[in-house]
C-alpha cells in the first residue's frame, strides 16, 4: 500500500447551472505519475483549481496527507506542499527568468516579507534559483525578460516557478500546451527528471506523452470520473476509446 498524498471526497463545483466537477472521489499516491485526461470542457482545469484552492468547492472535501484542507486558501495550501502550473502562462512577464524563480523561492523560504535588506543579499535564494534553472536547462535564459522568450521556454519557466516551491504534490495543467511538437519534448524531458518523491498529476492531451510518462490514468468526461487504471487498461477500455481516444485520433 502506498501512502495517499492527496485525496478528494465527493468534490463538486458548479458555475450557476453548469456542474463542471461532480462528486469526484480521487486519490493521488506519494510519488505518483498520474495523468488526467478527458475531452475539452471535461472539467480537468476546474478540478485542479479545486485541488489548489484557486476556486472554492461547492461541496465535498479535499485532503492533503489525511488533513482536511478544503477551507484553506490557495496560499495556505502552497505552504502545505501543493504547487501547480497553469494551462495558459501566468508569469511575471516584465521580470527576468531568474527573478521569476527567485520570487517563488523567496516566498517558500520566508524571505519575502523582509523589507530592510536587498534581494541581492539573499545569495542562498539566488543560488538555488540558478541551480534550478540549470536543472531545467534554462540557465542560458536566466537574464532574459520572460516576455522576450519563445513560448516553449516560457512554459519551462511556468514549471520552474512551481518547482521552486519544493512541492510534495505538483499539479501540471497541460504543460506542453501551445508548444510546437518539435519543442515539446524539452518540456516533457524536464518533467521526467523531476524528483521521484513528488506526487505529480498531469493534464495532457497527447496520448503518447500520457502513455510514456504516467503509471496511472484517470479519465474525466462531463465533469465526472469516467474510468481509472493503468495506461494499458485505459488504452484497452472500449468505452474510453469510444468517448475519448476516438476523438483524439480524429483530431
Amino acid at each position: 500500500m502506498t501512502e495517499i498524498r492527496l485525496e478528494t471526497r465527493a468534490l463538486r463545483r458548479h458555475f450557476g447551472a453548469l456542474v463542471a466537477v461532480q462528486e469526484i472521489d480521487f486519490k493521488l499516491a506519494a510519488g505518483a505519475r498520474h495523468a488526467l485526461i478527458g475531452p475539452n470542457g471535461a472539467g480537468k482545469t476546474t478540478f485542479i483549481n479545486l485541488l489548489s484552492g484557486a476556486l472554492p468547492a461547492s461541496r465535498g472535501r479535499v485532503l492533503l496527507k489525511g488533513n482536511d484542507v478544503t477551507d484553506k486558501t490557495q496560499a495556505e495550501r502552497v505552504k502545505l506542499g501543493i504547487a501547480r502550473t497553469f494551462q495558459i502562462n501566468r508569469l511575471f512577464r516584465g521580470l527576468s527568468v531568474l527573478e521569476n524563480v527567485c520570487i517563488s523561492i523567496a516566498e517558500r523560504v520566508g524571505a519575502a516579507p523582509s523589507m530592510f535588506y536587498p534581494v541581492g543579499r539573499r545569495t542562498d535564494v539566488i543560488d538555488e534559483a540558478m541551480h534550478l534553472l540549470d536543472v531545467l536547462k534554462l540557465a542560458s535564459n536566466a537574464a532574459h525578460r520572460v516576455s522576450e522568450l519563445p513560448y516553449g521556454r516560457q512554459r519551462l519557466v511556468e514549471i520552474a516557478i512551481a518547482i521552486g516551491l519544493k512541492p510534495e504534490v505538483l499539479l501540471l495543467d497541460e504543460p506542453a500546451a501551445g508548444v510546437p511538437s518539435t519543442e515539446s519534448h524539452i518540456i516533457l524531458d524536464a518533467i521526467e527528471r523531476l524528483p521521484e518523491h513528488i506526487a505529480i498529476l498531469i493534464i495532457e492531451h497527447d496520448m503518447d506523452v500520457v502513455f510514456r510518462f504516467a503509471k496511472r490514468v484517470t479519465v474525466m468526461v462531463g465533469g465526472a470520473l469516467f474510468a481509472e487504471g493503468t495506461p494499458r487498461e485505459i488504452e484497452a477500455n472500449p468505452q474510453v476509446r469510444a468517448v475519448y481516444l476516438g476523438q483524439a485520433s480524429r483530431g
Binding site: 496560499a75 501566468r90 530592510f116 535588506y117 541581492g120 536566466a142
Partner: protein, 346 residues
C-alpha cells in the same frame, strides 16, 4: 569529522552566483555614481539660486509625493487616483495641530502626519484593495472626495473652504525659524526629510518585500499560486505609501504655513499622477525627473503663455504617451543605450 581525508573542492561550489543574471540581481541595489546627481544638484541650487528656494521647496515636496505614489502605483500596481487623500490627511494633521496651538514642533508633527495618513491608508486599503482596475480607481477617488467633503464640513476646526491660514510652526530644533520670506530653513529641512524618505523607499523596493510587490504588479494570480498573502502585502504597501504621502502633505503645510482644501483636491491627485507618468513610474527617479520637468514647464510656460501653458503641457504628455511609455527617464535610458552603450560595444 575527517576533513583531512577528503580534500574538499574550493568553496566556489556556487558557480550559479558567477553567472551574469545572478550578478545583475546581486548588484542591483548598489548605488550608482549618477544617483548622487539629484542631491548634488539640490545642494548646488541652494547656493546658486537663493532667491528661488521657495519654488525649489515646492519641487522637493512634489518629488516626495510622487515617490509615495510610485511605491503604490509603479511598484505594486495599485491603480489610484486618490493619492491626495493621504497628502491632505498629513497636511491637515499638521495644520490642525498648529492652528489650534496643540503641537507645533515640526519633526514630531510630521511623524503624526505620517501616522494619520497611515491610519487612513490602512483603513481604506482593507476595504479598497479587494478590488482592482477601474473599480479601485473609482473607490480611491471616492475616498479622497469624502475626506475633502469632511474637511469642508468640519468648518469650525478646519476653516472649511478658507482653510487654516498663518500656521505658527515652531523653530526647527528650537532654533531655525521658518521664515516665509527666506526659505533657507524650509528648503534644507525638506531636502533632509526627502533624503531620509528616499533612502527608506529605495531600501524597500530593492528588498524581497519590494520584489514581491513587483510580482503582484506583474501577475497577482500567480503570486497567490506561489503562496504569497497578496492582499496583506498590498495593504502594507498602501499604508506605507500613504504615510509617505502624509509626510509630503505635512511638509507642504509647514513650508507654506497654511492648509486649505486644495490639499485634498482631485487636481492634486491628477497632477502627481501626470508627474509620475511623465517621469516614468516604477523606477524611483521618475518622480524626480517628472516633478522637475512638470514644475519647470509650468513655471516657464506660464510666464511665456500665461493663458495657454497647459496646452504645452498637454502636448508634451501626448508625446510621452505615444513615444515614451516609460516616461522621460525611460526615453533617456533608450537613448543612452543607443548612443553610448552600443557605440562602446562596437
Amino acid at each position: 569529522m575527517s576533513t583531512e581525508a577528503v580534500p574538499l573542492p574550493p568553496v566556489a561550489a556556487t558557480p550559479g552566483l558567477d553567472q551574469p543574471a545572478a550578478r545583475v540581481l546581486m548588484w542591483r541595489h548598489h548605488l550608482r555614481w549618477w544617483e548622487a546627481l539629484p542631491w548634488l544638484a539640490a545642494v548646488a541650487f541652494y547656493f546658486i539660486f537663493p532667491d528661488y528656494l521657495g519654488f525649489a521647496t515646492a519641487l522637493l515636496v512634489t518629488i516626495l509625493f510622487a515617490l509615495s505614489l510610485d511605491l503604490a502605483l509603479g511598484y505594486a500596481g495599485i491603480i489610484t487616483l486618490g493619492h491626495a487623500a493621504f497628502f491632505g490627511a498629513g497636511a491637515y494633521t499638521v495644520g490642525l495641530l498648529a492652528f489650534h496651538g496643540i503641537w507645533t514642533e515640526p519633526i514630531t508633527s510630521l511623524a503624526l502626519a505620517a501616522l494619520a495618513a497611515a491610519v487612513i491608508g490602512f483603513a481604506s486599503g482593507v476595504v479598497l484593495l479587494r478590488t482592482q482596475g477601474l473599480t479601485l480607481l473609482m473607490l480611491t477617488l471616492c475616498t479622497m472626495a469624502l475626506l475633502q467633503e469632511a474637511a469642508n464640513m468640519a468648518h469650525d476646526y478646519t476653516g472649511g473652504f478658507d482653510g487654516l491660514p498663518s500656521l505658527d510652526i515652531a523653530p526647527l530644533f528650537g532654533f531655525f525659524e521658518f521664515n516665509p520670506l527666506y526659505a533657507d530653513t524650509q528648503y534644507l529641512y525638506t531636502l533632509a526629510i526627502l533624503l531620509v524618505c528616499f533612502i527608506f523607499i529605495r531600501t524597500l523596493v530593492y528588498s524581497p518585500f519590494g520584489q514581491s510587490l513587483t510580482g503582484i504588479r506583474e501577475n497577482p494570480l500567480r503570486m497567490h499560486a506561489v503562496g504569497a498573502p497578496v492582499r496583506r502585502r498590498l495593504i502594507i504597501c498602501y499604508t506605507i505609501s500613504g504615510a509617505i504621502a502624509g509626510v509630503a502633505g505635512g511638509l507642504w503645510a509647514q513650508t507654506n504655513a497654511y492648509v486649505n482644501l486644495s490639499a485634498l483636491d482631485l487636481d492634486r491627485a491628477a497632477t502627481v499622477l501626470i508627474i509620475l507618468i511623465l517621469g516614468g513610474y516604477g523606477r524611483l527617479y521618475g518622480a524626480f525627473v517628472g516633478a522637475a520637468a512638470y514644475l519647470a514647464l509650468e513655471h516657464f510656460l506660464a510666464r511665456i503663455y500665461p493663458t495657454a501653458w497647459q496646452l504645452g503641457l498637454g502636448l508634451l504628455l501626448v508625446i510621452v504617451a505615444l513615444y515614451a511609455r516609460n516616461g522621460l527617464l525611460g526615453l533617456g535610458e533608450v537613448l543612452w543605450q543607443r548612443y553610448f552603450v552600443r557605440r562602446a560595444a562596437t
